[in-house]
């Protein structure tokens, strides 16, 4: 039995200990905002927050998040008690997404970075955001992060 909280709601799932959190979220809880990209933590599309820390859920067994507080893209703004977080709003203002598939993970990764480091340097941004975006939205991701950093 796996027990954890997702976006503020307690969940109790009768699933295998080694099932990756990604598939528990998507196939068991129906939370499809978190995306499957590679299955080996190489692309970041599946990034969620576990107790506030960014985690690649495709390689994180549910046994590793027992009792943890998990936030997915669906719960990002709800937790902040607003329609959109500043990061999500910046993504609209800078027209960041194209196909959009990687952007849930990208937004989760950037949200964590800015929470721990509100004014990151270029190097800090480059070194902490390693998510793959096949559409190549990186120039806008950078611009959006910088707009948030300077207003922080």
């Amino acid at each position: 039995m796996a027990r954890f909280r997702v976006n503020g709601t307690d969940q109790q799932l009768d699933i295998e200990d080694d099932m990756p959190l990604l598939w528990a979220l998507r196939d068991e809880l129906g939370l499809t905002g978190t995306k499957f990209g590679c299955g080996i933590a190489a692309c970041g599309a599946c990034t969620v927050h576990v107790n506030g820390t960014p985690v690649r859920s495709c390689v994180t067994p549910v046994s590793a998040v027992e009792g943890a507080e998990i936030t997915t893209i669906e719960g990002l703004a709800v937790n902040a008690a607003e329609a959109l977080t500043p990061v999500q709003q910046a993504w609209i203002d800078h027209q960041v997404p194209q196909c959009g598939y990687c952007q849930s993970g990208m937004i989760m990764a950037v949200s964590s970075l800015l929470a721990s480091n509100p004014n990151p340097s270029d190097d800090e941004i480059d070194n902490s955001i390693s998510n793959v975006c096949r559409c190549g939205t990186y120039p806008r991701v950078k611009a959006a992060i910088k707009s948030l950093a300077t207003t922080a």
């Binding site: 699933i15 295998e16 099932m19 990756p20 598939w23 998507r26 196939d27 068991e28 129906g30 939370l31 499809t32 905002g33 978190t34 995306k35 499957f36 990209g37 590679c38 299955g39 080996i40 190489a42 692309c43 599309a45 997915t72 893209i73 669906e74 990002l76 703004a77 959109l84 999500q88 993504w91 609209i92 027209q95 960041v96 997404p97 194209q98 196909c99 959009g100 598939y101 990687c102 952007q103 849930s104 937004i107 941004i125 480059d126 070194n127 955001i129 390693s130 998510n131 793959v132 975006c133 096949r134 559409c135 190549g136 939205t137 990186y138 120039p139 806008r140 991701v141 950078k142």
Partner: protein
Amino acid sequence: MKMNRRRFLLGTTVVGGGLLIGYASTRPSKHRLANDANQEPYLTTWLRIDPDNTVTVIVPHSEMGQGVHTALPMMAADEMDADWSKVKVEQAPATDLFANGVLVKGFIESMGVSIPGFLQGIASSATMKVAEIMNMQITGGSSSVRFTGEVGMRSAGAAAKEMLVKAAAARLGVAENELSTSLSYVHHEASGRSLSYGELATDAAQFEPSSEPTLKTPEQFTIMGKSIPRVDIPAKVDGSAQYGIDAQPQGLLYAAIKISPVFGNKLLSVNSEAVSGRRGVVKVVELEDAVAVVADNYWRAKQALAALDIQFETSESDSVSTESIFAQYDEALKGEVNEDVELGDTPAALSSAAKVFEASYRVPYLAHAAMEPMNCTVHFHDGKCDVWTGTQDNLGIRGQVASVAEMDENDVTLHSCYLGGGFGRRLPNTTDTIVQATKIAQHFDVPVKTLWSREDDMQQDYYRPAVTSQFRAGFDAQNNLIAWQNYYIGKNEPAEAAHTPYDIPNQSIAYADSPTHIRFGAWRSVAHSQHTFFMESFVDELAHQSGQNPYQFRLSMLASKPRHAAVLRAAAEKALWNQNLPEGHAQGIALQESFGSIVAQVAEVSIDRTGQVQVHRVTCAVDCGRSVNPDTVISQAESGIIFGLTAAIYGEITIKDGKVEQSNFTDYEMIRLKDSPQIDVVTVESGAAVGGLGEPATPPIAAAVANALYILTGQRVRELPLKNYRFNPAPVEQSA
């Protein structure tokens, strides 16, 4: 209904009031079949005006990040002088209404439309041919704005406006020429009276739409040419956007699949009983060249699949390797070649030339690696079928499912989803995921989602073909380039991809076919991605070999192509060509026209401590005629550059023992944020016909980077990718 050979518009009223207007044409299409002589009109556009004054634009193309769900409605809304804040966008359903102009009764009724009497007969005799399916809703070839938008959307919008004005004139008892339109209202300035489009829509439907409505001139545009926020973006920042992979119909099961790693080899055996009784596993399905495990959760299906012992047959393809393919290409190029371009007398020019240069280039296979792995959800029930998938061609996919299931297409409903990347991968003729998903789901009466892993996606692609291209060129005694000979492997679309834009009096361009068992398909910009690297690298070699500046050398051969010359100049000027570059940096330039747009790029690069290339800045000049949504022009240029840069630096699919060796992003690496250069985009508004934008920024970048590397190192890159090189700085003196 007015009709002529080329186009017609039809307008009708909607149950509950309002106006529905459709545009059909025998549109120009490169996908058009030669025997398609009956000139059946294709409906490409619908827009609806409701009594509450909203305008709904129904877009037949798929949104895969290129902004088409915004740009096309902008074009219709501008022509009709609609208030953009009252415009809604819907994706057209995949029905043959949008395929061949035949109005399908079921769809019409579901839209709440009353069918005019004269169309009733057509509606009940709806037929569908696969050729027509393939032709219509296709999203590719950077064609949506160029054809559907410039012709269909604008005409429908302009015709609607004319009908609304007629209705207002009748209602107010004034002449049409006393009326003006703006922001979804018709105004009669003399009396100060105004009527909303919504109030007029039902009356307007009684007028015949003009088949040749008057279109605006660019200075009259109020919406086109402005950067309008994309309508699809809000759902893509909160996780609510629904991609094919997100379909969750009631009772859903999940299929994981193992396909023969050597293309074409058949399934030999599988010990299916080994996973019976495993938690969640429902069934093992054997296909001709694959095995699928169906379970109640994708991970359980995948785990069970891994526990199976699956054997495939062997074949002579098992001995094929990258080396054997390139050796086969070299042999083919020694044999008979097929004419592509013949101009002047190239053999004579080469034999009389003062100097002759030769070089041979090649590029590897490439995977698409769209972020959303291939998937398709299929549900057979009650003699019908529902399908969920993100595709570049909704109708094509519907037809494919119907064909595999031997059903009438009208019994198949395709639920349009966002695409987690297309890039040419999600076209019906290049995906077997749909066929597999259909065959697997046929075993069930509940929906089944067939989902490929990243490894499946990378190893079962329809690859951009590996190509070898050989050049010989000759200069006369005055240092003019007089002969261009280019023999390459495999002619693909677009047909002109290997044609040089430069004024060279003698040209002999030809190709040899050399098929392999590796399947191939369209990859963003298709054949331009290889040939622009070849041609623009070799032209650069010729500049250096003949002691000319690469930028000036190109310009000197563009006298007959002023648009190309202007774009090249714009890129060089914006990039400050060869001015004040930091120590250890160099610039390279490249140019290509594709899909109606001309793009020139200047790449500024250096070599890092490990001998790898660093791309610092890319300056990109674009002439797409006229920008419909300027911010989308910039974002598509950025996207195309990074896509092409990923290919140039990292992209390489290799073959060993008949199989693809790469399997995931660890061995098929992507450009990431830290490698992403500064990109500056400058648009040249030539006013020429609107060009495509999804693809044209991809072709030039590899050559631009390689040309800069030559200046830094003296090493000419004739094979990609660049990750396979260790560069040593050894700067080359450039001609002014």
